[in-house]
Symmetry: C2
Subunit: 758 residues, 2 copies
């Protein structure tokens, strides 16, 4: 999977330092350090920064993407062994951990138009002569969606736009049912696994998903190999398991998929789709879409094919067949350690996956080669005698693509230790040219802003932070001039941070560059070395920038005197969430009341066009008022605690060195502060998890039940309001408020401890 960053990036970044230090000013004290230790850290970072080399990243990408390396393939295992050996050569304690997971691979696939004319879909990506790896068909996974159930169905075909719930409301208003039908949806608009889930909920018997050329084909530029965009036979593979219920091995929810783990029967696995699904190319989709009857779709449903897009079905009927090999496959997670000194029991974890759908040069090797160069640089410093305070763990996960398998199983298997020791998790995945995407726990917002201010953008020759800020201001957010920190996005899902953050409550970040190049090779055979070195970060200078950003982040987390969380940012962000939720309730109430009035007044009948009749939409019941007081009180408590912590931290940081009396006593007290801080993010865990998906335990962040990648913040409350389950709202508010109060108490205690450090 991938950290998705579309172009332009303006909308993904959100907020900034009023006073940018001039070159002549001394560098500011790094968060978590004091003047003295900050200077030592900067000296270390200067050495670190010079080590990563673009040429090495290029060579490693060529090696790692030379053959298809999906879960279960020979090259996946060979890559894991090679990565382990690299870590070892760099001076790390590296090993491979294995898990055995359900990973279906296709045996039979068919898509055929059977009426009113016939067309048999190719379901095959063509060899491109200039691209040396595109023809490795014998090793390539065929184009398919993993965790589609087996099926052989025939039915009328209906076009459902992106296949999200709002699209089915549009169909319903026109009296078009998908019951017994095969739906065809465009990729995009949600995580792909949402499409068959919603289709099945509406009674469809099969689901096709295709890449429309308007979204990532010729509309955006020349197609591969002339340009970076998706060619007519290019297909997006991908998992369609119900990841928002739980990620990882479908047979071992909540526990590591070790050899002897207790497994569900396949028939009982809740995240496997209810209907068969296949992805197809736009070359294969065009004859199917052109065969549809029914009314023309609205403008925002139309794609870039030279046809009239219609709802269907008319006479169009399709046959869909999917059959997979459902045997278990072995995952190879590479895990490497650099042991800490004084705080060896506190772990800073860094990861990027190594498995791909095919050759995967961009996804995931572009991020992995940065991680490997960080590891080499840290190893080199280590060989020169340096050692981190805290233990650093670098991981190269297997099985991310089918559903975060490698990271999830490892996290589940090591849950007890991680709960005890994990300080933070730093993830990357795809890396391209442009802006530094930063998402994560808001307790790390100030920290990652500080890192971005200290990494140079290789094109603009200003800091990555300043370039992000410029894009935000030009995108219309003039207030980005006045903020000390740019807002970072909250994490939904789509990469390996999910089990760390949302299952175990480990503060997490996801970073990577992107936003300047369009691409149309996602999860296809064309995501390979030829493509990446022609159309993305061709000189690997953004690879180096990512290695610098992530490496500096790891160094700071591992070396800081005080673990660099900042709760003021967290408090402010949670406050905006609560305000959003209050507005959401009010806007939904207003919208529902207005809709009821429109229906009562018969307005939908009055405007219905007899040539294309429509009915009134469905409307929820009116929401009652909710008791937001517990949340508001909790936010106030957190803000108060954060202010106390800031004050104690500033006093500690600015204390003159001459005052340092007993170094040992001081260190002991600081250690107590840090032990508390390690657990700070855990305070947000809900003991019972989210409603109907207990695996997800974080009260602030989760992938949306109907968005998949997209985050829902304060998900228990937000989804209850969005979905109109009013009776749940007050209870969810209380549950979340309790976690925020727990966090506030922890932060207040940490502040008191820190204030006592002399």
């Amino acid at each position: 999977m991938v950290f998705v960053m579309s172009r332009p990036v303006y909308s993904l970044l959100a907020g900034v330092v009023l006073l940018v230090p001039f070159a002549s000013e001394p560098a500011p004290i790094i968060l978590g350090f004091n003047a003295q230790s900050s200077q030592a850290e900067r000296d270390l970072e200067a050495k670190f920064r010079s080590i990563p080399e673009p040429a090495r990243m290029r060579d490693m990408m060529q090696r790692l993407s030379a053959r298809p390396h999906h879960v279960g393939s020979p090259y996946d295992k060979q890559n894991a062994e090679w990565i382990r050996d690299q870590f070892a050569a760099f001076g790390w304690d590296a090993k491979i951990e294995t898990f055995d997971v359900l990973f279906p691979t296709p045996v039979e696939r068919a898509v055929e138009l059977v009426a009113p004319t016939t067309y048999k879909a190719q379901l095959q990506e063509t060899t491109v002569s200039v691209d040396p790896t595109s023809g490795q068909h014998a090793e390539q996974l065929p184009t398919y969606n993993a965790y589609s159930r087996d099926g052989d169905v025939t039915g009328p075909l209906v076009f459902v736009n992106y296949g999200v719930p709002a699209d089915y409301e549009e169909l319903e208003r026109r009296g078009i049912s998908v019951r017994g039908a095969i739906v065809i949806a465009k990729y995009g608009g949600s995580w792909r696994g949402i499409k068959p889930k919603v289709a099945a909920e509406h009674g469809a018997v099969g689901c096709l998903i295709y890449s429309d050329p308007r979204d990532d084909g010729y509309s955006g530029g020349d197609v591969f190999p002339k340009g970076p965009m998706r060619p007519p036979q290019g297909v997006q593979r991908g998992s369609v398991a119900d990841m928002p219920t739980f990620p990882g091995d479908p047979l071992t929810p909540g526990v590591g998929a070790t050899k002897d783990a207790k497994r569900l029967a396949i028939a009982d696995a809740p995240t496997i789709t209810k209907i068969p699904v296949l992805p197809i190319s736009y070359g294969d989709a065009q004859p199917l879409l052109a065969a549809l009857g029914g009314p023309t779709v609205p403008g925002n449903w139309r794609g870039g094919l030279p046809i009239t897009y219609r709802f269907g079905p008319g006479a169009a009927r399709v046959h869909l067949k999917v059959k997979s090999d459902w045997s278990l496959k072995t995952l190879y997670d590479v895990v490497a350690r650099l042991l800490g000194t004084t705080e060896a029991d506190q772990w800073v974890i860094r990861g990027n996956h190594h498995d791909a759908w095919v050759n995967g040069a961009e996804d995931p090797i572009s991020g992995l080669v940065a991680e490997l160069e960080e590891a080499r640089a840290l190893g080199q410093l280590s060989k020169q005698g340096w050692r981190p305070k805290r233990t650093i763990i670098y991981a190269a996960w297997d099985g991310e693509e089918p559903g975060l398998l490698g990271s999830t199983e490892w996290v589940e298997a090591h849950a007890t230790e991680l709960d005890q020791h994990a300080v933070a998790y730093l993830n990357s995945d795809t890396n391209d040219r442009g802006y530094l995407g930063m998402e994560g726990s808001h307790s790390l917002e100030k920290f990652i802003n500080g890192v971005a201010k200290d990494v140079e953008d290789p094109e603009a020759k200003v800091s990555s932070w300043k370039r992000n800020q410029a894009a935000l201001i030009l995108g219309g957010q003039a207030d980005a001039r006045g903020r000390e920190d740019l807002h970072i996005g909250a994490l939904g899902s789509g990469s390996d941070f999910t089990p760390f953050l949302q299952h175990l409550g480990i503060a997490s970040l996801n970073i990577g560059y992107g936003g300047e190049d369009d691409a149309g090779i996602y999860h296809s055979a064309y995501d390979d070395f030829y493509w990446y070195t022609h159309f993305s970060d061709t000189s690997f200078v953004y690879g180096r920038a990512l290695a610098q950003a992530a490496g500096i982040a790891v160094l700071r987390l591992a070396n800081a005197d005080v673990i660099p969380f900042a709760y003021t940012n967290l408090g402010e962000t949670v406050k905006t969430y609560v305000t959003e939720l209050e507005h959401l309730r009010d806007s939904r109430a207003k919208e529902i009341a207005e809709r009821k009035k429109q229906i009562a007044d018969g307005l939908f009948g009055i405007v219905s066009d007899p040539h294309a009749p429509t009915t009134a939409p469905h409307v929820d019941s009116l929401p009652p008022q909710f008791n937001f007081a517990p949340l508001l009180n909790a936010v106030d408590a957190l803000s108060g605690a954060a202010a106390e912590f800031d004050k104690a931290y500033a006093a500690w940081r600015d204390r003159p060195p001459v005052m340092q009396a007993s170094a040992t006593a001081s260190a002991t007290k600081l250690a107590a502060v840090n032990e508390r801080l390690v657990k700070a993010e855990r305070a947000f865990l809900l003991a019972d998890g989210l409603k109907n998906r207990p695996w997800f335990k974080h009260s602030l962040y989760a992938p949306g039940l109907y968005t998949g990648y997209g985050v829902k913040t304060v998900p228990g409350v937000r989804e209850a309001i969005e979905q109109g389950t009013w009776q749940d709202v007050d209870g969810e508010i209380a549950r979340v408020a309790a976690t925020i109060q727990r966090e506030a108490a922890l932060v207040r205690q940490a502040a008191a401890d820190l204030a006592s450090v002399r």
Copy 2:
């Protein structure tokens, strides 16, 4: 040309009656009448309403669109004579008035791609076998743009989106110049004549305009003849004269193009284009666009062809040749009168054009047949002994398509009489299915709302007013529930109301149904009887509804005791314009200051992608504060006068009949009120007209200099602020304020006169 109504219509309608009368309530008193005269009027309207017949409209459409009938064609003259004879048969005093105008028709046309490959454009609409008139090639005008200068040019090709000024700013930011180039623009986004004007201003040597399939081709539905949309070889003809400077004959600005009128030399005619122009189909455009190099265009520039849209030029070079026959042609305006009784010197004028680009079933015959049925109905009432108080003039204009020639020359030739006698002008043009579009002078807003409340929508079986209101509410304007009158749009240009309203200051309305059907045959050979009777108002029930609406409006204007202007609506609307202008100044100031700061901070350099570099945009100087006081004072004066008028009108209307003492004295005083009201809209005329375009004299309404169809309200002030000519603003405010003060004084005097009627 045409009254453009796109689908959905929500955005064109804007506001509504709180209390809808119940069926059991008595019908309200019609505006301009008292209880007694209102009842008589309603009885008359009931008779009138039952006369127009759909079947007759269908027959007339078939007759009038049987052959191409553009200016100068044999069938244009035959149609005029037939229409005159119809009016005469209906009992009207009908005649034809002729004018001799410059109307170029094509002699040579060529468009060829000459590099990097070659393609010769067909420039020919193909015959459609099921469509009996599509093959009348001998009589059809070839596809061309009238008033393109002659030219034979070759140059690089550059794509300019819709070819409006903002598009050239985008090109400039990317360093792409059109100097010496031929530009290719999509139809849409502005009136077509704007495209070559702006292209020439930027140094282009030629201009192609094509119909993109996303705008009116296959994206919207099946193409003709299977569906209503534009087929690959369909072309939109049309005038490209600089109509926002002045419409009508380019050689006789301001005076009627009579035989002996003084004429400009063609070389001196300012409204003829500066560069040659040709329209082409998307079939012909695709090879040209596919040949372009340069960067991919932004998403909002892309169309529906299955190609990557690029800016150009790359290697693409095009040859364009245009040569016309520039001889004068004769216009045949049909003008018919029904003489009034007591107020025969007050004229109510109704018009619709009869000329077309080819067969023109929709444009203009769909509107014309409604007008003819109104005329037949009025004639029938007249034969039964009824006569209007005021004189009714019905006109069928020639030469509207090339640039409102027939109406403009007639208005210019009869300016003195019209200034003296004209009460109002009511226009229609194209008519389709759906919503009653209403635009015009805001002194007629309440009046036309009253008409719309008394016409039944043939599909929804509620009033047209109520259906419009429903669409507005569903479109998000919940406040449309609470208003007494729906807001009507202001008039820009694009049909024959322009000379009446904007040159002579005659209160005008433009009405017509539309908004339910998509169409792609505008100004093509496929706008014919076959198309209209398969894909538009196929049963002519909306033709009947238009005849009812327009006929009732004419009857009310002709019979009212007090001419039915309502100044409260006018005052409110003008007040919103002034508020808009104040906000426009402030938002431009804010935007310019922000842009200057962005440039000063170097942000555009920071975000420029070295693979596709962009520069900072142009920025105007900061606006000073302007003196809006004269406008605000004038608006207050007008609102005050309007309140006085309303009070006097209500007192007159509600006076018990027993109080009517001397009928003669009363009638004389009422006549004095009406004489004043006839001139009320004239108060808005600027003696010197708008800056650089003195033909346009109305201070409130004009087509935009860079929009063409689209209105600019308070144009002198608005365009000065939009274009950054700050030094003009205060002077323009003063000029407009003086006209509003004049209007206020007139209305106050009319109120005093009306109050004195005993």
